[in-house]
Symmetry: C2
Subunit: 133 residues, 2 copies
Protein backbone atom coordinates (compact mmCIF):
# COMPACT_ATOMS: atom_id res chain seq x y z
CA UNK A 1 0.00 0.00 0.00
CA UNK A 2 2.18 2.74 1.36
CA UNK A 3 5.21 1.58 -0.59
CA UNK A 4 8.31 3.55 -1.09
CA UNK A 5 8.02 3.77 -4.87
CA UNK A 6 4.94 4.49 -6.93
CA UNK A 7 4.11 4.07 -10.59
CA UNK A 8 2.68 6.95 -12.52
CA UNK A 9 -0.88 5.61 -12.20
CA UNK A 10 -0.61 5.27 -8.47
CA UNK A 11 0.66 8.80 -8.19
CA UNK A 12 -2.22 10.03 -10.33
CA UNK A 13 -4.75 8.27 -8.16
CA UNK A 14 -3.14 9.50 -4.97
CA UNK A 15 -2.95 13.15 -5.95
CA UNK A 16 -5.75 13.40 -8.50
CA UNK A 17 -3.62 14.48 -11.43
CA UNK A 18 -3.17 13.08 -14.93
CA UNK A 19 -0.10 11.23 -16.24
CA UNK A 20 0.43 14.09 -18.62
CA UNK A 21 0.73 16.45 -15.70
CA UNK A 22 3.38 14.35 -13.98
CA UNK A 23 5.41 13.95 -17.17
CA UNK A 24 5.08 17.66 -17.73
CA UNK A 25 6.39 18.40 -14.27
CA UNK A 26 9.32 16.11 -14.88
CA UNK A 27 10.07 17.86 -18.16
CA UNK A 28 10.04 21.16 -16.28
CA UNK A 29 12.37 19.68 -13.66
CA UNK A 30 9.89 19.91 -10.85
CA UNK A 31 9.93 16.15 -10.26
CA UNK A 32 12.73 13.62 -10.68
CA UNK A 33 11.30 10.10 -10.80
CA UNK A 34 13.87 7.34 -11.18
CA UNK A 35 13.67 4.86 -14.04
CA UNK A 36 13.18 1.16 -13.97
CA UNK A 37 13.90 0.40 -17.56
CA UNK A 38 11.64 2.89 -19.28
CA UNK A 39 9.11 3.25 -16.53
CA UNK A 40 9.04 6.10 -14.06
CA UNK A 41 9.07 5.38 -10.36
CA UNK A 42 8.24 8.22 -8.04
CA UNK A 43 10.19 8.47 -4.82
CA UNK A 44 9.37 9.85 -1.41
CA UNK A 45 11.03 13.06 -2.49
CA UNK A 46 8.68 13.34 -5.47
CA UNK A 47 5.72 12.94 -3.15
CA UNK A 48 6.89 15.80 -0.98
CA UNK A 49 7.61 17.99 -3.97
CA UNK A 50 4.29 17.27 -5.65
CA UNK A 51 2.41 18.23 -2.52
CA UNK A 52 4.23 21.54 -2.46
CA UNK A 53 3.62 22.04 -6.17
CA UNK A 54 -0.12 21.54 -5.80
CA UNK A 55 -0.25 23.79 -2.79
CA UNK A 56 1.73 26.47 -4.59
CA UNK A 57 -0.65 26.33 -7.51
CA UNK A 58 -3.63 27.00 -5.28
CA UNK A 59 -2.04 30.33 -4.43
CA UNK A 60 -1.48 31.36 -7.99
CA UNK A 61 2.26 30.75 -8.11
CA UNK A 62 3.52 29.88 -11.58
CA UNK A 63 5.32 26.58 -12.05
CA UNK A 64 8.56 28.48 -12.55
CA UNK A 65 8.14 30.26 -9.23
CA UNK A 66 7.28 26.98 -7.58
CA UNK A 67 10.41 25.42 -9.01
CA UNK A 68 12.50 28.13 -7.41
CA UNK A 69 10.72 27.62 -4.11
CA UNK A 70 11.28 23.88 -4.29
CA UNK A 71 14.98 24.43 -4.75
CA UNK A 72 15.01 25.88 -1.27
CA UNK A 73 14.03 22.50 0.09
CA UNK A 74 16.90 20.40 -1.21
CA UNK A 75 19.87 22.69 -0.96
CA UNK A 76 22.24 19.97 0.21
CA UNK A 77 25.87 21.07 -0.03
CA UNK A 78 26.26 24.22 -2.03
CA UNK A 79 28.55 27.16 -1.83
CA UNK A 80 28.12 29.63 0.98
CA UNK A 81 27.41 32.52 -1.36
CA UNK A 82 24.74 30.58 -3.21
CA UNK A 83 23.26 29.47 0.05
CA UNK A 84 23.05 33.04 1.26
CA UNK A 85 21.44 34.17 -1.96
CA UNK A 86 18.93 31.39 -1.68
CA UNK A 87 18.26 32.44 1.86
CA UNK A 88 17.55 36.01 0.77
CA UNK A 89 15.14 34.87 -1.89
CA UNK A 90 13.36 32.71 0.63
CA UNK A 91 12.97 35.67 2.96
CA UNK A 92 11.43 37.72 0.17
CA UNK A 93 9.03 34.91 -0.63
CA UNK A 94 8.08 34.69 2.99
CA UNK A 95 7.32 38.40 3.05
CA UNK A 96 5.23 37.98 -0.08
CA UNK A 97 3.25 35.20 1.46
CA UNK A 98 2.60 37.07 4.67
CA UNK A 99 1.41 40.05 2.66
CA UNK A 100 -0.85 37.77 0.70
CA UNK A 101 -2.32 36.38 3.86
CA UNK A 102 -3.12 39.86 5.09
CA UNK A 103 -4.82 40.67 1.83
CA UNK A 104 -6.71 37.43 1.96
CA UNK A 105 -7.86 38.22 5.46
CA UNK A 106 -9.08 41.58 4.23
CA UNK A 107 -10.94 39.95 1.37
CA UNK A 108 -12.53 37.46 3.74
CA UNK A 109 -13.69 40.24 6.04
CA UNK A 110 -15.13 42.18 3.12
CA UNK A 111 -17.04 39.18 1.91
CA UNK A 112 -18.33 38.43 5.38
CA UNK A 113 -19.69 41.91 5.71
CA UNK A 114 -21.32 41.59 2.33
CA UNK A 115 -22.93 38.38 3.47
CA UNK A 116 -24.37 39.99 6.57
CA UNK A 117 -25.90 42.62 4.33
CA UNK A 118 -27.22 39.87 2.08
CA UNK A 119 -28.87 38.17 5.03
CA UNK A 120 -30.72 41.32 5.88
CA UNK A 121 -31.91 41.78 2.31
CA UNK A 122 -33.14 38.21 2.10
CA UNK A 123 -34.90 38.54 5.43
CA UNK A 124 -36.70 41.69 4.34
CA UNK A 125 -37.65 40.14 1.04
CA UNK A 126 -39.18 37.21 2.84
CA UNK A 127 -41.15 39.66 4.93
CA UNK A 128 -42.46 41.41 1.83
CA UNK A 129 -43.44 38.16 0.27
CA UNK A 130 -45.30 37.20 3.41
CA UNK A 131 -47.08 40.55 3.52
CA UNK A 132 -48.12 40.15 -0.10
CA UNK A 133 -49.81 36.82 0.49
Amino acid sequence: MTEELMTIREMCATYDVTPRTLRFYEAKELLFPIREGQKRLFTKRDHARLKLILRGKRFGFSLEEIRQLLDLYHVGDQQLTQMSRTYEIACERLADMELRREELTQAIDDLKEQLRWGEKVIASMKQEKKAAE
Copy 2:
Protein backbone atom coordinates in the same frame (compact mmCIF):
# COMPACT_ATOMS: atom_id res chain seq x y z
CA MET B 1 -6.69 65.13 -9.18
CA THR B 2 -9.04 62.81 -7.41
CA GLU B 3 -11.79 63.41 -9.91
CA GLU B 4 -14.91 61.37 -10.26
CA LEU B 5 -14.19 60.20 -13.79
CA MET B 6 -10.91 58.99 -15.20
CA THR B 7 -9.65 58.45 -18.74
CA ILE B 8 -8.07 55.18 -19.69
CA ARG B 9 -4.55 56.55 -19.31
CA GLU B 10 -5.23 57.87 -15.86
CA MET B 11 -6.61 54.52 -14.83
CA CYS B 12 -3.55 52.80 -16.23
CA ALA B 13 -1.24 55.08 -14.31
CA THR B 14 -3.22 54.70 -11.11
CA TYR B 15 -3.42 50.92 -11.12
CA ASP B 16 -0.36 50.05 -13.20
CA VAL B 17 -2.16 48.21 -15.95
CA THR B 18 -2.20 48.64 -19.74
CA PRO B 19 -5.04 50.07 -21.84
CA ARG B 20 -5.37 46.68 -23.45
CA THR B 21 -6.05 45.16 -20.05
CA LEU B 22 -8.82 47.62 -19.24
CA ARG B 23 -10.47 47.17 -22.63
CA PHE B 24 -10.16 43.44 -22.17
CA TYR B 25 -11.88 43.63 -18.79
CA GLU B 26 -14.66 45.66 -20.33
CA ALA B 27 -15.10 43.10 -23.09
CA LYS B 28 -15.34 40.43 -20.40
CA GLU B 29 -17.94 42.51 -18.56
CA LEU B 30 -15.80 43.07 -15.52
CA LEU B 31 -15.80 46.84 -15.94
CA PHE B 32 -18.48 49.18 -17.33
CA PRO B 33 -16.94 52.53 -18.20
CA ILE B 34 -19.38 55.07 -19.58
CA ARG B 35 -18.81 56.71 -22.95
CA GLU B 36 -18.24 60.31 -23.77
CA GLY B 37 -18.50 60.11 -27.54
CA GLN B 38 -16.09 57.29 -28.26
CA LYS B 39 -13.93 57.67 -25.20
CA ARG B 40 -14.23 55.56 -22.12
CA LEU B 41 -14.65 57.22 -18.77
CA PHE B 42 -14.15 55.09 -15.70
CA THR B 43 -16.45 55.67 -12.77
CA LYS B 44 -16.09 55.24 -9.05
CA ARG B 45 -17.70 51.86 -9.44
CA ASP B 46 -15.04 50.82 -11.94
CA HIS B 47 -12.35 51.83 -9.46
CA ALA B 48 -13.84 49.64 -6.78
CA ARG B 49 -14.26 46.73 -9.16
CA LEU B 50 -10.75 47.00 -10.57
CA LYS B 51 -9.27 46.92 -7.09
CA LEU B 52 -11.18 43.73 -6.38
CA ILE B 53 -10.16 42.27 -9.72
CA LEU B 54 -6.48 42.88 -9.08
CA ARG B 55 -6.76 41.49 -5.58
CA GLY B 56 -8.56 38.42 -6.85
CA LYS B 57 -5.84 37.81 -9.41
CA ARG B 58 -3.17 37.79 -6.74
CA PHE B 59 -4.91 34.77 -5.25
CA GLY B 60 -5.08 32.85 -8.48
CA PHE B 61 -8.76 33.37 -9.17
CA SER B 62 -9.64 33.29 -12.84
CA LEU B 63 -11.30 36.33 -14.36
CA GLU B 64 -14.51 34.37 -14.70
CA GLU B 65 -14.48 33.51 -11.01
CA ILE B 66 -13.75 37.11 -10.19
CA ARG B 67 -16.67 38.21 -12.32
CA GLN B 68 -18.98 36.00 -10.33
CA LEU B 69 -17.61 37.37 -7.09
CA LEU B 70 -18.06 40.92 -8.32
CA ASP B 71 -21.69 40.22 -9.05
CA LEU B 72 -22.18 39.70 -5.35
CA TYR B 73 -21.31 43.33 -4.81
CA HIS B 74 -23.99 44.97 -6.92
CA VAL B 75 -26.97 42.72 -6.48
CA GLY B 76 -29.48 45.53 -6.31
CA ASP B 77 -33.07 44.28 -6.56
CA GLN B 78 -33.26 40.69 -7.73
CA GLN B 79 -35.67 37.92 -7.06
CA LEU B 80 -35.59 36.21 -3.72
CA THR B 81 -34.64 32.84 -5.17
CA GLN B 82 -31.77 34.32 -7.16
CA MET B 83 -30.67 36.25 -4.13
CA SER B 84 -30.64 33.14 -2.04
CA ARG B 85 -28.68 31.25 -4.65
CA THR B 86 -26.19 34.07 -4.82
CA TYR B 87 -25.94 33.97 -1.07
CA GLU B 88 -25.16 30.27 -1.12
CA ILE B 89 -22.43 30.72 -3.69
CA ALA B 90 -20.93 33.49 -1.63
CA CYS B 91 -20.86 31.26 1.42
CA GLU B 92 -19.03 28.58 -0.53
CA ARG B 93 -16.52 31.11 -1.73
CA LEU B 94 -16.00 32.30 1.79
CA ALA B 95 -15.32 28.76 2.93
CA ASP B 96 -12.84 28.36 0.07
CA MET B 97 -11.03 31.48 1.06
CA GLU B 98 -10.80 30.55 4.70
CA LEU B 99 -9.44 27.16 3.73
CA ARG B 100 -6.93 28.86 1.52
CA ARG B 101 -5.83 31.08 4.34
CA GLU B 102 -5.24 28.09 6.56
CA GLU B 103 -3.17 26.44 3.87
CA LEU B 104 -1.26 29.63 3.37
CA THR B 105 -0.57 29.84 7.07
CA GLN B 106 0.74 26.29 6.94
CA ALA B 107 2.96 27.13 4.01
CA ILE B 108 4.31 30.17 5.81
CA ASP B 109 5.12 28.14 8.87
CA ASP B 110 6.87 25.51 6.76
CA LEU B 111 8.96 28.10 5.03
CA LYS B 112 9.85 29.75 8.32
CA GLU B 113 11.09 26.48 9.72
CA GLN B 114 13.09 25.91 6.58
CA LEU B 115 14.64 29.32 7.02
CA ARG B 116 15.67 28.58 10.59
CA TRP B 117 17.37 25.45 9.29
CA GLY B 118 19.02 27.52 6.58
CA GLU B 119 20.39 29.95 9.15
CA LYS B 120 22.04 27.13 10.98
CA VAL B 121 23.61 25.74 7.81
CA ILE B 122 24.94 29.13 6.84
CA ALA B 123 26.33 29.65 10.30
CA SER B 124 28.14 26.34 10.28
CA MET B 125 29.50 27.00 6.79
CA LYS B 126 30.93 30.27 7.97
CA GLN B 127 32.56 28.39 10.82
CA GLU B 128 34.13 25.90 8.42
CA LYS B 129 35.40 28.66 6.22
CA LYS B 130 36.91 30.37 9.21
CA ALA B 131 38.56 27.15 10.36
CA ALA B 132 40.02 26.62 6.92
CA GLU B 133 41.76 29.97 6.87
